[in-house]
Amino acid sequence: MTVSVEARGWWGRWRAENQGLIDEWRRSFYRFQQSRLSIVGVAIIVFLLIVAFTGRYWVPYPDDSGFTTHVEIRLQGPTLENPFGTDEYGRDVFTRTVWATQTSLIAGTVIVLVGGLIGIILGGIAGYFGGLVNEVIMRLTDIMLTMPGIFLALAITAALGPSILHAMMALSITWWPGYCRLVQAQVLSIREEDYVEAARCIGASRPRIIFSHILPNCLSAIMVKASMDFGFAVLSLAALGFIGVGAQPPVPEWGAMISKGREFLPYHWSYSTFPGLAMFLTVFGFNVLGDGLRDIFDPRARR
């Protein structure tokens, strides 16, 4: 028996050791396939990723992502050359919308990652150590949850100076409380499980218990929240851009484009309509995926 396991190499050994995990994944994947909406979500996200990271090589007018001016074709409706029309400098709105996909996806990832990491670390500490540490962290979280997030992000961005980087920083700072509370609650319940007790009994160190026993078991809840949250991060960033404290010209960004295009309503409707549609598609994709993931991971919602 041992021989055959070794004969299959490290991959075979890994599979033999983690048979339970693999079966769990198989079941999850099967359930995932069953929900048609999740497949739609994944399809949308894959499409967006391809657009975001190859877009710059096939957009019709790559120069239009910066400062260029074509006065003769400014503010035109959709035509064959400019499928989404042109903006007030005659730049191709299609090019800029595609270009902005990358900006938004990267920014959303950074916000969710940074905010999520802060929240996971704080929540993990609070849940595992309990007592005074828990009180201090959770009261701070409560206060942050009471705080109107976008007001604060707005103030921070305005003070740091309007730019997309500062908007990302401000949102990351105000993003963590939700994760903190989620992880704390999860850790509190997982901490009491038998396998954690067993690990403690055989003398596993605290970091080992936290990182290889408790946190992996919180992962599904975190993933569901992150997926739902990602769309919201994209929306918040665009909201700051729309108000005027996010991305600054000439950086193509959906919120800023919509805000600019609003000045030319109702005659040049295409200018701000298409970036909005692109944003809707993005957020919709992630929300649909999150909804599907929740159906898989949350037994209460699985009906």
Binding site: T146, A159, G161, G231, L235, A239, F242
Partner: protein
């Protein structure tokens, strides 16, 4: 006994939350770089003038002293003075808040009116087309950038079809109803002026609809799950077995029990909409707290920002308290602990 003790404890708990909120906001607004004084004084101001302005607002003192001075004012209902236009923040808030409150209440009502029937349809016709439609509608409405949707609706309903006004809060050609609460819908009703009530309703329709979408999505998904859960309980089976009509079972037995969690969420929804008012008010030029916050933030005017954060935090905690207390009224089984 239980309720009174519970109320007092909850009211006392508001105090540390507000102190914490004020400290966090104060620290953040004073640690960020950017020189509000220089901005307020204008580019031509001399060093002496700037110094004088700093002294007037007490900005030359150490931070803890500034904080204590500020809090001393807050206790007396003085939220400081805006550096840009020298208006007392408390008075400005009193002027802007009714507009926001009106908008948030209207959108919460709309959210319930649209969300509850959608949730019921989805639960009753589970996994059939009403369920799928309500799921897609709910997912779409939280995926929609609110400011973009507002703009598209303005474009279609206001600019093209001329059915509704584009933006603002009231017809500039008509005098406001006499100011009692500051909420135009309430004021015009108090003055028994249906014409003005109609105008105010027309102006609030679009912003309230856009604002309500998040609530619609939330209520639809949450209530659907709860209805499905309650439907499997024994007392529902019992009611059906006794031959009660399905309508009675649904409304009297299922909905009443399923709505509890939704009511609990209304507090969260209310707070969310207060925050979301920033976007809606910017798009619809609605003169409320959100627009006030945007203007203040752009001018780096931190006294209003502090005041708004504290005030919105207070409103949020109060609403949550009210919601928690109202549980007992809806569901007598709940004991306050």
């Amino acid at each position: 006994m239980g309720l009174r003790y519970y109320l007092i404890r909850r009211l006392l708990l508001i105090i540390p939350v507000l102190i914490g909120l004020s400290i966090v906001t104060f620290v953040i607004s004073h640690l960020v770089p950017g020189d509000p004084v220089r901005l307020a004084a204008g580019p031509q101001a001399t060093a002496e003038q700037i110094h004088k302005l700093e002294e007037e607002f007490g900005l030359h003192k150490p931070l803890p002293v500034q904080y204590l001075n500020y809090m001393r004012g807050v206790l007396r209902g003085n939220l400081g003075t805006s550096m840009m236009n020298r208006h007392p923040v408390a008075i400005d808030l009193r002027r802007y808040f009714p507009a926001t409150f009106e908008l948030v209440v209207m959108s919460t009502i709309l959210g319930v009116l649209i969300g509850v029937p959608m949730a019921m349809a989805a639960a009753v016709y589970r996994d059939r087309w009403p369920d799928q439609v309500s799921r897609v509608v709910a997912l779409s409405s939280i995926s929609m950038p609110v400011f973009w949707l507002g703009m598209v609706l303005q474009l279609i309903l206001a600019m093209t079809l001329h059915l509704l006004p584009i933006s603002g809060r009231f017809d500039p050609r008509v005098p406001f109803p006499p100011n009692v609460t500051g909420m135009l819908l309430v004021d015009s009703l108090l003055a028994v002026d249906l014409h003005k009530f109609g105008i105010a309703l027309k102006y609030i329709a679009l912003p309230a609809f856009c604002q309500s979408l998040f609530g619609v999505a939330l209520i639809t998904r949450l209530l659907r799950a709860d209805i499905l859960e309650v439907m499997q309980r024994d007392f529902v089976i019992m009611a059906r077995a006794s031959g009660l009509p399905e309508r009675v079972v649904l409304f009297k037995y299922v909905l009443k029990n399923a709505l509890i969690a939704t009511v609990a969420m209304l507090g969260f929804l209310f707070g969310w909409q207060l925050t979301g008012s920033v976007m809606i008010e910017t798009v619809f030029d609605w003169p409320g707290v959100g627009l006030y916050a945007v203007k203040s933030a752009m001018a780096l005017d931190f006294q209003p920002i502090m005041g708004i954060t504290l005030f919105v935090g207070l409103v949020f905690t109060t609403v949550n308290l009210l919601v928690d207390v109202s549980y007992g009224v809806i569901d007598p089984r709940i004991r306050y602990g």
